[in-house]
Symmetry: D3
Subunit: 137 residues, 6 copies
């Protein structure tokens, strides 16, 4: 069993708030992140897959294949988007880093399996000092 990780990034706008909270309550819970006019981040995404090395190629998975999966299922839908308004797989979910990491896992699990590997973890940096890791439930 070996693990290989691909680092990608995307830029997006978001806002943390609940429509059933007052503005004051949103500000209290979510701070500056509740700004109604949005703010944004350069997200860094680390996708780790695991499996056995193919003795013919020396690869666990061809990184071009892995990168292509991440682009198709995640980056094309998130990069330069508004997470609250434009990302179908985040619809109805609070746009927290935790929820975004879980949703990215859900997009990647099947296509990674179909490519012959197993998804091990999704690690998502919102800023250089804050990141979330999800390993499936």
């Amino acid at each position: 069993m070996i693990y290989i990780t691909r680092k990608e990034h995307f830029n997006a706008a978001h806002r943390l708030y609940r429509s059933d909270y007052s503005d004051a309550r949103n500000l209290e819970v979510f701070g500056k992140c509740s700004n109604p006019n949005w703010h944004g981040h350069n997200y860094e995404l680390f996708v780790t897959v695991k499996g056995n090395v193919d003795p013919e190629t020396g690869f666990l998975i061809n990184l071009k294949t892995l990168s292509s999966i991440i682009n198709t299922f995640v980056l094309d839908r998130l990069d330069h988007k508004n997470i609250n308004l434009e990302v179908d797989f985040m619809s109805g979910r609070l746009a927290s880093t935790e929820n975004l990491a879980i949703a990215i896992w859900e997009q990647l699990e099947s296509p990674v399996r179909e490519a012959g590997a197993a998804l091990h973890s999704v690690k998502l940096y919102e800023t250089e000092r804050n990141f979330v890791e999800y390993f499936g439930n």
Copy 2:
């Protein structure tokens, strides 16, 4: 003459577009950055000041003073904001990294001078791979 640099950061949303361009023309010139629903960045800001070392303190400028100036005149007005809608010193300007670096210079030049140093440069990273430097005109 010695130079000292303070690195700060802020997160913001923005959009590159001209209201006198059609949507198609905005997309052609500004690409994904013209998304009407905004996107955002973790901006990294390097402010460099120059001057002589005070023989009594060994400092060119007390970094607490410099950091306080940057916070008051720049970060408090930019962090977690929408650059197009909420930042007074960017009003009427295209929200490009170039224009933002020049506008940050304009906010900092006087207060740095009043603190006894001279502003040397503003260096602004929009992403890890793109940055702008401005040294005044």
Copy 3:
């Protein structure tokens, strides 16, 4: 189960030595780190907590809460201090990175639990090339 990490830093002085060793023996075992006049580091600290996402906020833990815990229980007692002389929770312990990581874990475990999460790991960089991780015993 999800994991969230907060990166913090502090600067401190320390020295590696045993009072029951001769100077020569201290130098042999601890090298330049045994310098009686101290040396110091910019320590980087990564604190990882785990738990479930609160469906109301989308948070595992509010990062302001986590950062506040780390500041109160660790950074305020370590930053710009002499680890051998001034840090009560290191009293009587060799000031190695290993012992420091374990002691930081001990300071954080209870307050993180009281905040509704579980401490998962403490990762402590002494230099860019050396770091220790502790996951509890």
Copy 4:
């Protein structure tokens, strides 16, 4: 149980190809990495060992010992070398990052054990965006 990691680096040339593949097939599977004239990388290597803290020294393992083991068993044989042509422990293996990480583990496992610790993982960056981790089988 505590974990300590040492980061090292080396520069090397390599090529991904199979002599039983045609040039066209090599290009299809391995892309630009199959270039017959070689290419190379600045590899970053993170070696993690685990064990108990020695109460006398406060160390899991003396980092000078660990660094010396990595230099003797890995770096002296890899740094500024051609992985396909000059590295005995890669003889007969495809020079992929996966195979290289596994081979590095095999070189380090015994000497780390003889030094009183246990090898936990080998993490090898081929580029800033691609890395492999191996924890033994």
Copy 5:
């Protein structure tokens, strides 16, 4: 006048040696870098251009244009190549970082000017700890 920088990277193999030196002399002057079987690097390239901001777009130069120039004139000819054997603009030159930075400048100066900006500097990292800067002669 404003400055904008684009960071790119490429991987390549090379060797430092002179055919009119003996092997012993090559080893003495160039050390491990003279290995006849090659070694390689992940080069980081920072290209800085300068000029005025276009008031219509807010850009000094469209970064897609700059990136395209760097790809066409430099990266496509260097990435995953052997600098000594396969890079026409390095033919007859020692493959040192100094000479490579100068040669990259020569490839970029005209196309950057034709795109309406002026090339300011080429900064080339061979390793994280060694880099060269060239500003033209």
Copy 6:
């Protein structure tokens, strides 16, 4: 004219204070940095030299030579030392980053010239967010 930079690092303890200030005044001016029990840093040092490329070697200066100069004249005297107590070239000077950068310049200027290059700048990071540059007077 070309510029080459070598990055080195050292760890040291220091304290900012004036013996002719009261403790309260030291605290007011120098903050936590005036702690009588010292604190310390992982300093990053970038030394840039300039000159012409030697057509025979392709080098401005052999980096082994430059690294050796920095080690002999700076690092051996600073690494794992107390800057206030043990570093002769800082004797009688406040241990600020500004003064340290100037003093490092003074140590390096002659030996770099004797090695056939010209010292261009000394850049010294005290923390990741604060650094000083000195280009001579």
